[in-house]
């Protein structure tokens, strides 16, 4: 059920094309993230939905209504800005109440709804403070309360957590998701942080240089990235340059003497180059002599819950991440064997967009 539909949206700034061929449907109640590196057009896309930036081409439909050229103040969408954009001359309560005042909600109802919204973000005690008297995390919550109090059909969040420190950011991620679930508000969040996008979204839209390159559930994107770029952008990866030895289902590719079983498209000819990838946590380290290939631990890093190893192998330097299960870790310089499951190998398409 399409609630918000973007069809072939495009935005040109003079000769620069910020966004192009952007088509997406969002279902009611869904939490969708736009994920991509800085400058790839995420904010521009969000601002086109909000109506701050006129679209150069394409259509936007919301709940059956064409809002492509509607004024931003007639769309009724909730927007949370990266800088929060709180009104510095108004108290927290006045900030939150502004949208209700614009909707001519009566004073008594306004008071009730402001109190509700503030309690939802745990800021009941701060109603009479001014924004400059609040911490970053509190300002962020005020911005969220101000956006949701008008009960918008869609909530648009532009890097809502990027100005918070790491610990607060993680807390707010889960809180944001919990609030969104409770209200059931369809939400589109912009972020350049893959963990943030993965942990709280139903679907992630990966963007590169103004285009969508993959739309999928977070798990699918991580496990089946379409291109090299995505594979790198959404986590650590080991890239293996291989050659086709046999195309088609149950096909094979080789790097040096090592054969990999991968599903290769039929049209691939023998000896064509292919890019394979395997995630570091899919590699298993074992005693030297066993496994598919051997290697030497070049360096290791302790990440708390995990150990990260750089292993020097005939396939090149591989990255392996192993859970810290309490056993004795491998030493630097130690010889190890490396093994993996055939299914863990992914075939990547070449990057379509010059990043």
């Amino acid at each position: 059920m399409a609630f918000l539909t973007l069809t072939d949206i495009r935005k040109d700034y003079g000769a620069v094309t910020a966004v192009t061929d952007f088509s997406l449907t969002v279902a009611k109640g869904e939490f969708v993230s736009l994920l991509g590196p800085s400058g790839c057009g995420k904010t521009t896309t969000l601002h086109m939905i909000a109506g701050f930036v006129p679209v150069s081409a394409g259509r936007i439909r919301l709940d059956g209504r064409d809002i492509t050229h509607a004024k931003p103040n007639s769309r009724g969408l909730g927007v949370v800005f990266q800088s929060y954009a709180l009104f510095p001359h108004m108290t927290v309560a006045e900030n939150v109440g502004f949208g209700l005042e614009m909707q001519r909600v009566s004073k008594t109802e306004r008071a009730t709804r402001i109190a509700e919204a503030l309690s939802l973000v745990h800021l009941e005690a701060y109603a009479v403070r001014y924004p400059r008297e609040l911490s970053g995390g509190q300002r962020q919550r005020v911005a969220l309360a101000r956006a949701i109090v008008i009960r918008p059909p869609i909530l648009l969040l532009d890097e809502p957590l990027s100005n918070l420190d790491a610990k607060l950011r993680e807390e707010m991620q889960f809180e944001l998701r919990a609030i969104q679930r409770r209200l059931g508000t369809t939400t589109i969040m912009v972020t350049h942080d893959q963990t943030e996008a993965f942990s709280i979204s139903d679907r992630v839209v990966v963007m590169e240089a103004g285009r969508i390159t993959q739309v999928d559930a977070p798990y699918r994107i991580y496990e089946h990235p379409r291109t090299r770029f995505i594979s790198h952008f959404v986590g650590k990866t080991n890239l293996l340059e291989a050659r086709v030895t046999q195309a088609g289902r149950g096909g094979r590719a080789a790097i040096g003497g090592q054969l990999f079983a991968v599903d290769l498209p039929v049209q691939m000819v023998a000896d064509a180059p292919v890019a394979l990838a395997i995630r570091p946590e899919k590699l298993r380290l074992m005693e030297a002599g066993s496994g598919r290939i051997g290697g030497t631990i070049a360096s290791r890093y302790f990440l708390g819950s995990q150990w990260l190893y750089h292993v020097d192998t005939p396939l090149g330097m591989l990255l392996a991440v192993l859970p810290n299960d309490g056993s004795i870790p491998h030493e630097e310089g130690e010889s190890v064997g490396i093994d993996w499951a055939d299914e863990a190998i992914r075939l990547l398409a070449e990057d379509e967009v010059a990043a």
């Binding site: 931003p72 103040n73 800088s83 709180l86 510095p88 956006a147």
Partner: protein, 289 residues
């Protein structure tokens, strides 16, 4: 640099460096001011001029004579109206300018600020030519069938001239405040359903209030002591405090009375400006820091 542990040189350097500026300030402002204040207490007689001895007589004259009350009130009124018009026109003008795109903005800003490069006297004569009996405005009024009006030597003429001269002094501080304005607050207000006019009134104006405040202080202060514009556009009839002081000094040759009026104008100006500043600050200190 100038902490408790600083060497004597480092401690004295700031004073030494601001010395020349202080000297200039003292000789050009404080000394004449002091001399004026002393003069205002001197005894005066139309036959023999300034005499030895101290008197409060000049102040008593100004404070008790209705003639002077009227002139002070008129000056106050003219300055207040000029300030109001400058706020009402200058603030939106600065806002529109700041929203223009690059090249147009440069051109329009030049148009707004260029008058500063032309002498006040020249501009005042320009207005008196426009507003005179045979002036362009009257010719247009006649064409429109309204008939000629008395425009020059009225309070309106003085206000028109003052607004023209003072506008840049309102636009520049407001413009500076606007540069610091976070544009996303306007977008946020729009997304919450506010109309562009509401956004300007409720979101933009309160945030540029410090600029409007300093702009109105400058405009009010300069208008209250303006001399050329009331002198040339107000004529003999529309006397203001500044033209009155001029008359006392140069026509009546009663320098002590002129000095007393000048001192009273200075004090009145200071009181009004401080009061206004305090009022605004008290209202907005918490929000705007």
């Amino acid at each position: 640099m100038s902490g408790p542990g600083a060497t004597p040189i480092a401690r004295w350097a700031p004073y030494a460096m601001s010395g020349p500026a202080f000297l200039l300030f003292a000789t050009l402002l404080l000394v004449p001011l002091l001399l004026t204040a002393i003069l205002s207490f001197s005894q005066f007689d139309h036959h023999s001029g300034i005499k030895a001895g101290v008197t409060l007589q000049h102040y008593a004259v100004v404070i008790t004579d209705e003639f002077y009350h009227e002139i002070f009130l008129r000056t106050l009124r003219l300055s207040a109206v000029t300030t109001l018009i400058c706020v009402a026109v200058g603030a939106p003008e600065a806002y529109i300018l700041s929203r223009m795109s690059g090249r147009w903005r440069a051109v329009c800003l030049l148009v707004v600020l260029a008058p500063l490069l032309i002498s006040v006297v020249v501009r005042a004569f320009g207005w008196s030519m426009l507003l005179g009996r045979e002036g362009l405005v009257n010719q247009l009024l006649e064409l429109a069938g309204i008939g000629r009006q008395r425009l020059l030597y009225t309070e309106s003429a003085v206000i028109v001239g003052l607004v023209h001269i003072m506008m840049p002094f309102m636009i520049i501080p407001v413009w500076t405040s606007l540069q610091k304005l976070d544009r996303t607050t306007e977008q946020a207000a729009l997304s919450l359903g506010a109309s562009p006019v509401t956004v300007f009134r409720r979101i933009v104006v309160p945030q540029v209030l410090p600029g409007i405040l300093s702009g109105s202080l400058i405009v009010f202060g300069l208008s209250a002591s303006a001399f050329a514009i009331p002198g040339l556009l107000g004529g003999r009839r529309i006397k203001t405090v500044a033209t009155l002081i001029y008359d006392e000094y140069l026509h009546e040759l009663n320098w002590p009375l002129g000095a007393a009026i000048a001192v009273i104008l200075l004090i009145a100006n200071l009181l009004i400006m401080l009061g206004y500043n305090r009022l605004m600050e008290r209202r907005y200190r918490r929000a705007l820091g």
